[in-house]
């Protein structure tokens, strides 16, 4: 790993909504030992905080950033109330911003998934799984492979009448679209709103 120190990076993270408490971290590792994901991949929440504090931008490349399940163990157990799960979201926004600017390549399909998920919500006001899968298959580049991987569960749900064949659109979807317009839907563009927070 290249150690590229960016003295401004720390301040940038702290300026993100939800990440204001970064500096309170005492590096105790409670988050790391509580994280279910760190059991499976190289993902160390304590180290992620350390990297942010040191201004190591490479933290935005971390695979685990997109594997966090939002289980809230780190949030719950941190003795310093750092709220690491919120820092993950802030880092995701920054990573997406970098990717948009062409400075970072995102390997995970999670950003695309989230984007497609929110597009459905903006379109119908509620989730529409069939539409989500179609859009995600396209956007992630997985195409038909995606349908193959989830064929089993899809068929099982379908047989039990648990798949909606039509979107369930709410009446005043305009209001939801207004919310998206104001607070912006995609992870990348939400950075602007995060930025104004002090």
């Amino acid at each position: 790993m290249t150690m590229r120190v960016d003295p401004e990076f720390r301040g940038k993270v702290v300026g993100e909504l939800g990440a204001e408490r970064l500096l309170r971290c005492v590096q105790c590792s409670t988050c790391t030992v509580s994280c279910p994901i760190s059991e499976f991949v190289d993902w160390n929440p304590r180290l992620v905080v350390e990297k942010c504090l040191l201004g190591l931008r490479d933290v935005l490349d971390e695979e685990g950033l997109w594997l966090c399940t939002s289980c809230q163990n780190c949030y719950e157990r941190c003795p310093q109330d750092v709220r690491f799960s919120e820092i993950v979201l802030a880092l995701r926004r920054l990573a997406a911003e970098e990717a948009k600017a062409g400075r970072l390549k995102l390997e995970s399909t999670k950003p695309a998934f989230d984007e497609c998920f929110l597009e459905m919500v903006a379109k119908y006001g509620r989730q529409y799984e069939a539409g989500l899968l179609r859009t995600f298959a396209k956007r992630s580049g997985l195409g038909f492979k995606l349908f193959l991987s989830y064929k089993g569960i899809g068929m099982r749900l379908f047989k039990k009448g648990k798949v909606a064949l039509r979107p369930d659109k709410i009446k005043r979807v305009k209001e939801v679209r207004e919310v998206f317009k104001r607070f912006s839907g995609s992870p990348s563009s939400s950075v602007e709103t995060g930025g104004e927070h002090k």
Binding site: L17, G18, P36, I37, F40, V41, W66, L67, T69, S70, C71, Q72, N73, Y75, E76, E86, L89, R92, R93, A96, S108, T109, K110, F113, D114, F117, L118, V121, G125, R126, Q127, E129, F136, S149, Y150, G152, I153, R156, L157, K160, G161, K162, V163, A164, D168, I170, K171, R172, E175, V176, V179, F180, R182, F183, S184, G185, P187, S190, T193, G194
Partner: protein
């Protein structure tokens, strides 16, 4: 008549139909009216990276709920997390102004498990027609109990479901993984990891000699129930572990017909559980 407002959540029309059915059926037997909030929108699940967007999406629902003047009951734990944290964050007046919401926090946001286990335990016990004669492992997952900022139970070792089920006669063993993550939120983007995470829970439940796992979240249910055959295939093992919403179990003891509780909609057969309770 006691009333609550009700936020069913998107999966109530799809993968968690049986949860919605059993919640409605149980409340109706208890003589409690659930008023579905009008024109509710998706809570954003765990796919919203921007806190302001999450708050604004959920503030719309909270305003709609507040119009009914009734405390809000939420069955899905991800919805509960989003509505709950929004309600909690909106204590801050500046944030309310920034979101531009009229929500005044005149109602409470409550998980359906909280309501049934803490408000209606005695009532359920009195009305119970059948003994819950099964060994059930209680599984809460993450967002039912975390964060505890606005929670109703212990964030590491919750016990509300244990109390409810054992009061109805169930044999509820200690279960160390009860608040462990199932990995559900990354199912679509990193499948191998959640499969392993859920497998651990199924293995432990099997080891505990469980007849069934009881859950309070549609995503946990999807992973443990609908994904179970895939996990079995990946591991080369057989679990055949029924996974029921706790409201389906409560409904059975209240004498509600299995069909009304959607027990035919679970992927892993629930027949054996029904037989044991109704015999």
């Amino acid at each position: 008549m006691k009333k609550f407002s009700y936020y069913p959540g998107c999966t109530s029309h799809t993968s968690s139909k049986e949860y919605d059915m059993s919640v409605r059926a149980v409340f109706s037997v208890l003589g409690v009216e659930l008023v579905e909030i009008e024109d509710w929108n998706c809570c954003g699940a765990l796919e919203v990276e921007s806190p302001l967007l999450a708050y604004a999406l959920n503030a719309r629902n909270l305003v709609l709920a507040e119009k009914t003047g009734l405390d809000l009951v939420v069955p899905c734990s991800a919805c509960f997390y989003n509505l709950g944290r929004t309600d909690y964050a909106l204590r801050d007046e500046e944030l309310r102004r920034r979101i531009g919401t009229s929500y005044a926090r005149r109602i409470k946001v409550r998980h359906v498990l909280d309501v049934l286990a803490n408000d209606f335990l005695e009532e359920i016990k009195t009305r119970a027609k059948k003994k819950l004669d099964v060994r059930v492992v209680p599984y809460y997952g993450c967002l039912t109990v975390r964060p505890s900022d606005f929670g109703f139970d212990d964030p590491d070792y919750p016990e509300s479901m244990d109390r409810l089920l054992s009061a109805l006669g169930a044999d509820v063993p200690e279960f160390s993984l009860k608040a462990r993550c199932c990995g559900g939120p990354i199912l679509m983007t990193a499948e191998e990891i959640p499969l392993k995470m859920t497998a651990q829970i199924l293995e432990e439940a099997k080891k505990a000699g469980a007849d069934a796992i009881s859950v309070a979240c549609p995503l946990c249910h999807l992973m443990l129930d609908a994904k179970q055959p895939d996990i079995e295939a990946a591991l080369g093992k057989e679990f055949k572990m029924p996974v029921l919403y706790f409201t389906q179990l409560v409904g059975l003891t209240l004498g509600i017909k299995p069909k009304k509780l959607g027990l035919h909609k679970n992927i892993i057969s629930t027949r054996e559980i029904i037989r044991k309770v109704l015999r």
